[in-house]
């Protein structure tokens, strides 16, 4: 135990003397959340809507489909659409809207004939991230239209032929023919179409339904921070763990690991010491982030629940990093594998995007990620005043996963160190 403490104290002292890496990682959640908040241009309680002007020069069926997509119930939560004439560009220049979408003349005909068609989007850079949202939304629409235009080529031509004739003369046989053509096309493209490519479904940005716990009066905590901070903080903690565990390879390169192994300590003690250091550093980082979070969000949480979840998360952080570096074997491979794994797990676990905003297919695998259990646990502690009992499942999964990964990682690292692979 004395040797373990000695190893941890030495590593912490080194970290204190060279704190840049850890400071960057710790400032990341706050800076990231702050940037997002600033991009939305508000510390208010709600995310402002995208004010999208649409200049419909076409007026055809496909153009109207775009307009109805933009006024659909789901999109309307985030986008306030206004159909305008040629004055649209001037209004953008006067900062009266986030973006202008221009549907050119001949757009519908081009869609029906499968020819190239271009939608023009004029962004207003003065409105922060809102024009970006408008652009992404437009791209989604374009993707859907493009795919539909290609897949439904035959039925679209059938519709076009019939719309060019007198609509009153459309027979039952024609309707059946179009329906069958659509069915055949969709069947043929089933693999491409299902599951749906992208959906816009960020429910938590919408107004809270009545009956849910209201925010305290005068509370200045930003909703953006509330949404982003827990997930990004969990992600940052895993990065802290990664930095700490990577130190075993840094020591191998510096020759100090080899020197320690030439002394009276075994490879197992060394690996255990590094794991303990990782856990201690993650715990310190968690405390710092918690203080920052408490200052920003100004919300109290159940201390028992917070402690339970945090200890389990620290175990998961330690286990994950130990496994990554146990598998990697060298610094570069470890850093690369680590970055990719943390990004994937972070994305799938809802660290960057609210879980409800993730594609359904990704949401289905979210529980595989420890980030998911950490993020949802902290969110429920902060947003729903959850107790230790409520976050027990999260803590149990994190602790179980962490213990298993730590066992595997420690074995791998021990084997590598003992064989002189790192040294």
């Amino acid at each position: 135990m004395r040797v373990l403490l000695l190893l941890v104290a030495k590593d912490l002292r080194r970290k204190v003397r060279s704190p840049l890496g850890i400071l960057i990682v710790l400032s990341f959640p706050v800076v990231f959340a702050l940037l997002i908040a600033l991009s939305f241009g508000s510390r208010g309680e709600r995310v402002p809507k995208v004010h999208l002007l649409v200049e419909n020069q076409d007026g055809g069926l496909a153009a109207n489909a775009v307009l109805s997509a933009l006024t659909s119930e789901q999109v309307a939560k985030y986008v306030e659409m206004e159909v305008v004439g040629p004055e649209g560009r001037g209004r953008i220049e006067n900062n009266e809207a986030s973006a202008l979408l221009r549907i050119p003349k001949g757009f519908t005909q081009a869609v029906f004939e499968g020819k190239p068609a271009t939608l023009a989007l004029v962004r207003n850079p003065a409105q922060g991230i809102l024009p970006e949202i408008a652009e992404q939304l437009t791209r989604v629409l374009v993707d859907v239209l493009d795919t539909s235009s290609r897949v439904l080529q035959k039925p679209l031509q059938e519709i076009r032929r019939n719309t060019q004739r007198d609509a009153s003369r459309v027979t039952d046989e024609t309707v059946v023919a179009v329906a069958l053509a659509v069915n055949h096309s969709v069947e043929g493209a089933r693999k491409l179409l299902f599951p749906p490519v992208i959906t816009v479904d960020t429910e938590s940005l919408a107004p809270k339904p009545a009956g849910e716990k209201p925010e305290k009066s005068g509370e200045s905590a930003s909703l953006i921070f509330l949404i982003i901070l827990p997930g990004i903080s969990v992600y940052a903690l895993f990065l802290v763990g990664d930095q700490a565990m990577r130190d075993i390879i840094t020591e191998a390169k510096a020759g100090t690991l080899r020197r320690q192994l030439a002394g009276p300590i075994g490879a197992g003690t060394l690996v255990l010491g590094k794991a303990l250091y990782t856990a201690v550093l993650a715990l310190i980082a968690l405390l710092v982030l918690s203080v920052v979070g408490a200052v920003i969000l100004r919300r109290g949480v159940d201390p028992a629940g917070f402690l339970l979840l945090s200890l389990a998360l620290v175990l998961a952080v330690t286990g994950t990093s130990a496994t990554i570096y146990g598998l990697a074997g060298d610094e570069r491979r470890g850093a690369t594998i680590g970055s990719i794994i943390y990004l994937i797990l972070g994305f799938a676990g809802g660290s960057f995007v609210n879980l409800e905003g993730l594609p359904r297919a990704v949401r289905a695998v979210s529980p595989v990620s420890p980030f998911y259990w950490g993020t949802t646990g902290y969110r429920s502690l902060i947003e729903s005043a959850a107790t230790a009992g409520d976050v027990l499942p999260n803590a149990a999964v994190l602790a179980g996963l962490g213990a298993a990964l730590l066992a595997v990682g420690a074995l791998l690292l021990h084997r590598t160190v003992r064989r002189g692979g790192l040294a």
Partner: protein, 309 residues
């Protein structure tokens, strides 16, 4: 105190250490002298328990290293070839960590750290971070880390590589002081002068094998009945070989374009006669040198190569 029996370490087809055996007595400074790649560091890695030998055994005070590695390693000090230090910590913090790792604590630890600092002349710089140190200072601290816990034996692997003469002199002085205090030292080097001036006994090692072993004088005596002549000039190897091999009592031990090394049997008189023969050989010469008996001439005689090649 340290006994090595038929030690072998293979890396694929290469036998980095090829059946070496030697014994080091208590308080002795034993040198392993050989060129780079001779197997010195691999031998030291096995002695310090970092590498497991493929064959052979290592004993410390009659106890086999593999039977109780942690207890034996606690009595050893290791000074690796690379400066293995924590750059962001101070010299004193480095020493305190390593002394603690070897079980020292409290007042004993304080005393040991101050003694080690003094031993390598770093007391005045003890508080500075190591990253601010010069290469020579880092080497001195590297040595101190291997000595701080007062080991019974120290394994020093080329502790003076890549430093200036002043820093080297400081380190050699510290090494002498260590052995004078009764500590057993195994010292690897490829510097002839270090081995000659420092070691009680020297093993000449090449291609993983010990070629010769003994005190410096004993080794020199191996070539006392031979004179080594180095002949350089503008000539091709075949012509020069044919002419010089014809000289009485002369054997060519190494040849390369524009350079021949000859071994001449006999005393100084024989060397002078051989020299006259070389001068009369008709070869276009730049220089001829007669080497007095040295570890280099021993190495030349044994391997046909100079240690510095």
């Amino acid at each position: 105190m340290i006994r090595v029996e038929r030690l072998v370490k293979r890396y694929g087809e290469l036998r980095a250490v090829d059946g070496i055996s030697f014994e080091v007595r208590k308080g002795e400074l034993y040198g392993l002298l050989g060129p780079n790649g001779a197997g010195k560091t691999t031998t030291m890695s096995m002695l310090s328990g970092l590498l497991a030998p493929d064959e052979g055994r290592i004993f410390f005070d009659g106890v086999e290293l593999g039977s109780d590695p942690l207890r034996i390693k606690a009595q050893l000090g290791v000074v690796p070839q690379e400066t293995a230090l924590y750059d962001t910590l101070s010299a004193r913090e480095n020493l305190r960590f390593w002394a603690g790792l070897y079980g020292l604590a409290g007042a004993d630890l304080d005393k040991a750290v101050e003694r080690a600092l003094e031993q390598v002349g770093l007391t005045g710089r003890a508080k500075e971070p190591v990253k601010a140190f010069s290469g020579g200072m880092k080497r001195r601290l590297n040595l101190a880390l291997g000595l701080v816990h007062g080991p019974r034996a120290v394994l020093m692997d080329e502790p003076t590589v890549g430093i200036d003469p002043q820093a080297r002199a400081n380190i050699l002085e510290a090494v002498r002081a260590v052995t004078a205090a009764g500590t057993t030292v195994i010292y690897t080097t490829h510097y002839l002068e270090e081995a000659e001036s420092l070691c009680d006994r020297v093993a000449i090692i090449d291609h993983g094998k010990i070629l010769a072993e003994g005190t410096v004088d004993e080794l020199k005596r191996r070539v006392s009945d031979k004179q080594i002549l180095t002949v350089s000039g503008s000539f091709d190897v075949e012509t020069a070989s044919a002419r010089l091999a014809a000289l009485p009592g002369t054997q060519i031990i190494a040849s390369s374009p524009n350079k021949m090394i000859l071994s001449v049997a006999g005393s100084g008189k024989a060397a002078i006669e051989a020299l006259s023969g070389v001068l009369a050989s008709g070869l276009e010469l730049d220089g001829v040198a007669i080497q007095p008996p040295s570890l280099n001439s021993v190495f030349l005689d044994l391997t046909g190569r100079e240690l510095r090649d």
